[in-house]
């Protein structure tokens, strides 16, 4: 049984590393990430006490990257969790009930999918003000329709199975069938989807913070760090390097994890893609 593939292994290692850094930032940071320290400003990478250097205000880069990891994890996981929950509930509802409800929910998902997320996020930021919760809300709004689609089509396939018919003939109610038979059988697909949207959430959050409508100080995000770095890019390019690398590593890790999990949890799909 080839359950441990390269994708899964690399993805798992990168993801666990990112989660560990985020957790560590809760209990330990090398420096305060926000308090300026002008005498030590713009130190290059490798400077004593600051392995990755400092920014224009003398704030340590490692400390900021660590808090940035926490932001990414929170926002990515938050957005993916809310949309997983809402999307699965709506998707199952659509799959299990009759034509009208199904049609209404599916068309709603189609419409939501055709609205560009980045633009909607700008509008949300304009009306609700920017910040972590607005970002999580915006992510949930873009991602929910995809979860509706995936859970609906997976649930429809399971509902055709003989064991579902058997359960129905045995007199089990609709809710029991959904909870006991459908949900466990579509869990694999949903976990994969969750991982991929976790990654997409991190990318989107970075973009919004870069645009200035996501996180702002004293909050710290990798996108925000890149925004600040771009103002000093001519002087110090390393500042524009680290946060970007951090995003790539974490997003790549989650995407590889998702692919690896798909191979393990959904062998039918994996065989088609291989």
């Amino acid at each position: 049984m080839r359950w441990l593939n390269a994708s899964l292994l690399v993805g798992l290692v990168l993801t666990l590393a990112a989660i560990s850094v985020a957790l560590l930032s809760l209990v330990w940071l090398p420096y305060h990430p926000n308090i300026p320290n002008i005498p030590e400003r713009m130190l290059p990478p490798g400077a004593p006490g600051h392995p990755l250097g400092t920014d224009t205000l003398g704030r340590d880069i490692v400390a900021q990257l660590m808090v940035g990891a926490r932001t990414s994890m929170l926002v990515g996981a938050g957005g993916a969790t809310i949309s997983l929950t809402l999307g699965t509930l709506l998707g199952l509802w659509a799959a299990a009930t009759g034509r009208m409800t199904d049609e209404a929910i599916s068309r709603l998902a189609d419409i939501m999918l055709s609205i560009p997320g980045m633009v909607t996020a700008l509008v949300l930021a304009a009306t609700l003000g920017s910040g972590m919760w607005t970002t999580i809300l915006a992510l949930s709004a873009f991602f929910t329709p995809s979860f509706i689609r995936v859970s609906r089509s997976a649930a429809l396939a399971v509902l055709q199975e003989d064991f579902v018919t058997a359960a129905r003939l045995y007199g089990r109610g609709r809710l029991f069938v959904l909870a006991r038979h459908v949900l466990p059988n579509i869990a694999g697909v949903l976990i994969v989807q969750f991982t991929l949207y976790f990654a997409a959430g991190i990318l989107t959050e970075a973009g919004l913070s870069y645009l200035g409508v996501g996180m702002s100080r004293p909050g710290i995000s990798w996108g925000l760090m890149l925004n600040e770095a771009q103002n000093t890019v001519g002087v110090s390019s390393p500042l524009a390097l680290w946060p970007g690398l951090a995003i790539v590593v974490v997003v790549l890790g989650l995407n590889l994890l998702g692919d690896g999990l798909r191979d393990v949890l959904d062998p039918k799909l994996a065989r088609r893609a291989a």
Partner: protein, 315 residues
């Protein structure tokens, strides 16, 4: 065929109504008292009332909505609170940046994704195919704005070959305008290309395993002939779908790349107006973009009917 077009048309119109209501409610209901926000905290209640009356903000929401939609349908997108410029003028002057950027970005993305995806599919299971797959995975993880920053660092700051930002209008100097777009298009196109490569690869893989391709091979065609003459037309459907799905990504990417390279496009206009709480400008511009995306998706549905005769007989 007629039924299919009718269904898609109905969805197109329904999507327009639903999204316009959503945008309107989001901005108007969640935004609170628009006039008060525009005038700021120190404004007197009289001034707020005067502005509200002038722009009709004191009318019932439903009336304001219908008024807005009526205006949009007759080409009047409203006016800015502060400068009284018409939104139509504001938008059209920005399109000379945003449209070429988005179109060239999408084209470059497809020019990368289609050959790379076909290559990766044909070499699936070999190191060369896996390598293209890995490149695409890494590309997907790179935020488009970081790609932009890195490219401008390399080609703009260090090598000094191309401008790192700013814009010269086409009417002033077309060559300079094009030069300002090289790095933005390169960043946008490469990242889009990486994302779409995956879809093209799996679409081609799907087709390669179909019976009709095997039949074509058995009747004497080489693998390439079978793929190009028989397979690609079938793979075209999912690829066209991807373009539709990527529209939102393309617009998001264009928004952010305009910021990286300080291009005076639609995105910068929206952001500036978001900051200035110019609700009418934001509302109308965002709606225009949504209309565009929904329209492209409608065109793609129509393209389906042309590419796949089965679609014409209904779903």
């Amino acid at each position: 065929m007629a039924l299919y077009i009718f269904r898609r048309l109905a969805f197109f119109l329904g999507a327009l109504v639903a999204s316009s209501v959503a945008i309107f409610l989001l901005i108007r209901a969640a935004g609170g008292n628009v006039a008060a926000i525009v005038l700021g905290r120190d404004a007197s209640p009289d001034a707020i009332d005067a502005l509200a009356t002038e722009y009709g903000l004191d009318r019932p929401l439903a009336v304001q909505y219908l008024d807005w939609i009526g205006g949009m349908l007759s080409g009047d997108l409203g006016r800015s609170f502060r400068t009284n410029e018409s939104v139509t003028d504001l938008v059209t002057s920005r399109l000379e940046v945003s449209i070429p950027l988005a179109l060239m970005g999408l084209t470059l993305g497809l020019l990368i994704a289609i050959p790379a995806g076909i290559f990766a599919a044909r070499n699936a299971g070999r190191p060369s195919g896996a390598f293209v797959g890995l490149l695409s995975q890494v590309g997907i993880a790179v935020p488009v704005f970081w790609a932009g920053i890195l490219l401008s660092l390399l080609f703009g700051v260090h090598l000094g070959w191309l401008p790192t930002g700013g814009w010269t209008p086409w009417s002033v100097d077309p060559v300079q305008a094009l030069r300002s777009l090289v790095l933005p298009v390169l960043s946008l196109g490469t990242i889009l290309g990486a994302v779409m490569t995956r879809y093209v690869r799996s679409a081609v893989l799907d087709v390669m395993n179909q019976d009709y391709v095997r039949t074509a091979r058995a009747s004497g065609m080489t693998a390439s002939q079978a793929l190009l003459q028989v397979g690609l037309r079938n793979a075209a459907l999912p690829i066209v779908t991807v373009i539709g799905l990527q529209m939102a990504e393309l617009i998001g990417g264009t928004v952010i790349i305009e910021m990286v390279f300080s291009l005076p496009g639609l995105a910068r206009m929206i952001l500036a107006n978001v900051a200035a709480r110019e609700v009418i400008v934001v509302q109308s511009t965002v709606m225009l973009i949504i209309v565009f995306v929904i329209f492209v998706n409608f065109l793609i549905d129509m393209a389906y009917a042309l590419l796949d005769p089965r679609t014409r007989r209904g779903r």
